[in-house]
Symmetry: C2
Subunit: 338 residues, 2 copies
DNA sequence: TTGTAAGCGTTATCAG
DNA sequence: CTGATAACGCTTACAA
C-alpha cells in the first residue's frame, strides 16, 4: 500500500509537502503540487481514511441506525426508499453511509457506543422502538443526530405528517358519506399515537361517534394480524362501512379476509391504506391511501444532519414535516349521493 | 472523549496493560482486568476504530457497491431484501456495512480507491453494469471481493440460477401446451444473456420454433418499456399465447397494455414474471413467476466474503448458485387438455 | 514555499 | 504478569 512517505521519497520532498499538495493547499507551489499529484497517480496512491480521521476527527460518514423487532425493516418499501434518499443526498456531499450494527467482536454494544466507535460524524435514527434505551442514550449524547418520525427534545427530527394524514383520510371518508369508520392501527409508537389522536380528534370535529369496538391494534406490516382484526370487525353486529389500515401491506391481510366473506371491496366494504407504496397503485382496485414521501424524508434527514455536522455552532434544531397526500383509488364507496 | 490513557491513569497501570485487558488478553491477571473493565465502564470509554484499524489493518466493515443508472436500485425489493440479508449476516459476525459512494470531498473516485480509502475488509459488488471500468478495476485488485449475479475470473460470485429459471419457465409453459412463447428480456447484462441463452436452448430442446419478432428488449424494472414491448407483441399478426417478462414490476407495464386490449390475463393471454417479489403474490390473478431467493443471496454473499477475509490463505474462490423455484400463479392458461 | 516534528488512539514487541 | 516504546499514516503548527 503506497503512502504519503513513498510519494515524498519519489519526489524528493518532505511528507508535509506531499500532504499539503494532495489537499490542494495553496501554500505549495503549483509546480510542486502538479509533480506530486502526477507521482501519486502513477504510484496508485490511495489515502487512508483511518489515519486521516484519527487526526482530523472527521470521518465523512453518516451512521444509520435501524432497529426493529422483525429484523426485516429494510425490506419495507417505506424504508428502502428512505434509505435510498439518504444515500443519494449523502453522496452528493461526499459522505458515506454506514449501517450501524450493535455487535462488534461478538459483544453487544449500545448503538451509541457503536456509532462513536465507528467515528460517524452524525447519525440518523430510523427506529420503530424509541423507548429502547439503546436508542435513547444515543440521542442524549453529543453526537449530531436526526430522528425520523419521532420527536426528541431539542433535537432535529424529520416527521411524516401523520396528523394531517389521518385528518385527511377521515375528512375524505366523511365527505363520501361514511359514518361508521373502523381504524386498525399499528403497535404503540409515537407515529401510532399521533395517528390515533388525529383520528379521534377529526371524528369528534365531524361529530362521528366511533365505538371502541371499531378500534383495533395490529402490528405494522404483518398482513396476518390485520387480517385477524378485519375478521373481528366483520363479525360485529353493526359492521363499519369502512376500514382504515395501518399500512398498505396490512391491507392485504384484510383483503384476504374480506374476500373470504365474499364482500366486494369498494362496494360492500370500503378500505383505506397508508404509505402509498408502489403496490397500492398497481393493485386492482387501486387502493385509496395516504402517500408518504419517504424519498424526501430520507433526503431531508441526510441534508439536515450534514448541515448540523458542518455548522455545529450555528445550527438550530428543527422539526421538518414532510407532507404527503391522499391517493384517491377505487376502494372507497360514495355512500351519499349529492 | 475518554481514551485508554485516561483509564491507565485512573487505574495506575500502563496503557499497554489497559489495551490488553480490554481485549481480554490472558497475559493480564484476572483481577487487574476486572478493575480496568470496571473503570472503563465508569468513565464511559468507547474504543476508537480509526486508531485500531490504523494499527491492525482490519476494519470489520464490508463495503457494498451498488451502481445503477437510475440511482434508485435500493428501492427494488430484489435489492433491498438482498441488502437486508447482507446486513443480518454481517452483523452476526460483527461487521458493519458501508454503502460505498464514489465521491469524496467533491472529487469522483473509482469505487476501488474508495473502498480502499475506507479501509473496508472486503467488498460486495451488486451492479447492473459490470462493464463499467470503475467496477472492473476493483475486481482486479487485491481486495477480497464477492460479486453478485456476475462471474469474474477466479473470483467468488453468488449467482441466482437464471439458467434453470428460464428452463423451468419454458418447460412449464410447454407442459401447459404453449408453443408461441414471447420473451421480453432486460437490457444486456450477464444475467440477461444467461436467461436468453437458456430460453433459446430450452425452446430448441422442446422443438419450439420462436420467431425473432417474439423476442423484445425492455429495461428492467421500468413498466413503461415492457408495456411498449407488449403492445408490439399484441399487434403481431400471429400473436404469442404467452409473454415472459423481465421481472415482476415490468409485468405491470404489460398488464396495463393487455387491459387496454380488453384481454383477460390467464385466459386470452398468459404471462410469466421473474423475481417473485411480494407483489406477485398479492396481485389478482396471482402471478406465475420464478422466485429468486434474494435474502439468501445476500446472506451467502456476506458469509463468503467474511470467510475470504478471515482465511485469506486457504480460501478458494467459488461460484455459489442459489436456486429459486416456480411460483404457479393463475396467469398461465392450460392450452392442452390432457 | 518547503521542511520538521508532534501527536491523533491504538496495538504489539520486547524487556523486566 | 506488567511496563515502556515504537509504530500505523496522516495533518498541522511552527520553523526555516
Amino acid at each position: 500500500m503506497v503512502k504519503i512517505k513513498d510519494i515524498a521519497e519519489a519526489c524528493q520532498v518532505s511528507i508535509g509537502t506531499v500532504s499539503k499538495a494532495l489537499n490542494r493547499s495553496h501554500e505549495i507551489s503549483e509546480e510542486t503540487t502538479r509533480k506530486i499529484i502526477k507521482k501519486a497517480n502513477e504510484l496508485g496512491y490511495v489515502a487512508n481514511s483511518n489515519a486521516r480521521s484519527l487526526k482530523t476527527k472527521r470521518s465523512y460518514s453518516l451512521g444509520i441506525i435501524y432497529f426493529d423487532s422483525t429484523n426485516s425493516g429494510l425490506e419495507h418499501e417505506y424504508f428502502s426508499v428512505m434509505l435510498n434518499g439518504i444515500k443519494k443526498e449523502a453522496e452528493e456531499s461526499g459522505y458515506d453511509v454506514v449501517l450501524i450494527s450493535n455487535k462488534i467482536g461478538g459483544l453487544k454494544n449500545s448503538y451509541l457506543s457503536h456509532a462513536k466507535y465507528r467515528g460517524c460524524d452524525g447519525v440518523i435514527i430510523v427506529s420503530a422502538d424509541f423507548k429502547n434505551p439503546k436508542i435513547t442514550t444515543l440521542v442524549e449524547s453529543d453526537l449530531p443526530t436526526v430522528t425520523i418520525d419521532h420527536l426528541f427534545h431539542n433535537r432535529t427530527s424529520i416527521l411524516s405528517d401523520n396528523v394531517k394524514g389521518l385528518e385527511t383520510i377521515v375528512e375524505y371518508l366523511h365527505d363520501k358519506g361514511h359514518k361508521k369508520i373502523a381504524f386498525i392501527h399499528g403497535e404503540d409508537t409515537e407515529v401510532t399515537r399521533n395517528r390515533l389522536a388525529s383520528f379521534y380528534r377529526t371524528c369528534q370535529k365531524l361529530k362521528l361517534d366511533i365505538p371502541d369496538s371499531y378500534i383495533k391494534e395490529a402490528q405494522y406490516h404483518i398482513p396476518k394480524y390485520s387480517g385477524l382484526a378485519t375478521r373481528e370487525l366483520l363479525a360485529l353486529e353493526d359492521r363499519p362501512t369502512c376500514i382504515i389500515y395501518p399500512d398498505d401491506y396490512s391491507y392485504l391481510g384484510g383483503l384476504t379476509e374480506i374476500e373470504k366473506h365474499k364482500l366486494k371491496i369498494g362496494e360492500d366494504i370500503s378500505v383505506v391504506g397508508y404509505d402509498g407504496i408502489y403496490l397500492s397503485r398497481v393493485l386492482r382496485p387501486v387502493l385509496t391511501t395516504y402517500v408518504q414521501d419517504s424519498n424526501k424524508i430520507g433526503m431531508m434527514a441526510a441534508r439536515k444532519l450534514i448541515e448540523m455536522i458542518e455548522n455545529p455552532k450555528t445550527y438550530i434544531p428543527e422539526q421538518v414535516v414532510i407532507s404527503g397526500y391522499l391517493q384517491q383509488g377505487k376502494t372507497v364507496k360514495t355512500l351519499n349521493s349529492l
